[in-house]
Amino acid sequence: MTDRTTETTPLTAEAVESALTGYLTEKIKTGIKADDDIFASGLVSSMFAMQLVVHLESTYDLAIIGPELKLDNFRTARAMAALVLRLTEDGVAADA
């Protein structure tokens, strides 16, 4: 059993971005916009990057491996949303 709505509704960049900005804002306790670079701002440590990897994998049922496992994919909510869409077969890009 699962509560993932993605079983029937394609993911959109906006929906993933929104979910991720909410997640980041809650974790970092600072308002985060979709294109804020959370590492450049010094708000989080490199360990938190791994928390983000695990969060995306468990939330969106992904395996982030090989060349996709790089920090640039996790710098912003927008970059993470793009990664999720690339790795999710039923994803629909914002400009599609």
Partner: protein
């Protein structure tokens, strides 16, 4: 030995924080590792941790792109260190425990095998007395996380040979690390400076002079420390820190190294820092 990863076979004894750090560093640099610990449960946990740390290292761009990660084997027996070109002991920071491991493996491996202690405080010459060949032991104080921090403190004991120093330089170069060599002393350079600082910082919190965040904030913001002493302590592991402070206090008599009550209370409560999710900070809630 050379700087070609295929010439190296590493055995790591102890699968805790530093043992898994060193194993991940080596595997990620193409050097195969045999990890030895005392129970299947600990080895299974260490394997998971090493896989996680390898991913972290890759994520942060800290692994050489031109090398295939090497294999990890695990074992319950130090006899499986026999074929290693280097053995690194990374067991609990208790002198008798480390000496026992060094004595045991030094009698299993071939003469000429590089023996490294990852001790953070115990004088190398004290440990060398337990080894079959004292001249083959050298200290390498890897930082945590070892796969992220390229500088290491290399401790040359009074009996460490030139051949051992050459061998350790080759290994460190293979692992992409840079060593700065120091002479033997309790705590060497880093921890003779750092540990009393952390203990003093904990005592300031204990005495109500300032809360944890303020102590760290002042050293970070005013003195330019990248990480404050209490956050550093959580990364080291407070249990390990107390063991190291005891080593320093017993050998130097410096009261600044006698673990303060606040530190001891945290350890008694099982709050060891990052590895248990809570220490001076609560990592179950923080995004850092």
């Amino acid at each position: 030995m050379s700087t070609d990863p295929s010439d190296h076979r590493l055995a790591v004894v102890g699968g805790g924080v530093m043992g898994t750090n060193i194993a991940a560093l080596a595997i990620g640099h193409g050097v195969p590792v045999v990890l030895v610990d005392v129970s299947e449960e600990l080895l299974a946990q260490a394997e998971e941790t090493i896989a996680f740390k390898l991913r972290h290292a890759q994520l942060m761009g800290r692994l050489p792109a031109d090398r295939t990660p090497a294999k990890l084997l695990t074992s319950l027996s130090t006899a499986d260190t026999a074929d290693a070109t280097t053995v690194i002991e990374a067991v609990t920071e208790i002198a008798d425990t480390k000496a026992e491991v060094i004595g045991e493996v030094s009698r299993i491996v071939r003469p000429g095998t590089l023996l490294i202690s990852n001790t953070s405080c115990i004088p190398i010459d004290e440990l060398a007395s337990a080894a079959a060949r004292a001249e083959e032991l050298v200290g390498v104080h890897f930082m945590n996380p070892a796969y992220m921090i390229t500088m290491v403190e290399v401790i040359r004991g009074p009996r460490t040979s030139d051949a051992t120093m050459t061998a350790v330089n080759h290994l460190l170069e293979t692992l992409g690390r840079t060593g700065l060599v120091v002479n033997d002393a309790p705590g060497f350079v880093i921890n003779q400076l750092l540990h009393p600082l952390i203990n003093s910082a904990a005592r300031l919190v204990q005495d109500g002079v300032a809360p944890v965040e303020v102590v760290d904030g002042l050293l970070e913001g005013c003195l330019g420390h990248a990480t404050g002493p209490l956050r550093t302590a959580d990364l080291i592991g407070l249990d390990n820190l107390v063991d190291s402070l005891n080593v320093l206090y017993e050998r130097t008599g410096d009261t600044a190294c006698r673990p303060c009550d606040h530190l001891l209370d945290l350890v008694d409560a099982g709050k060891f820092g990052r590895k248990t999710g809570e220490g001076f900070y609560d990592y179950r809630k923080l995004a850092s």
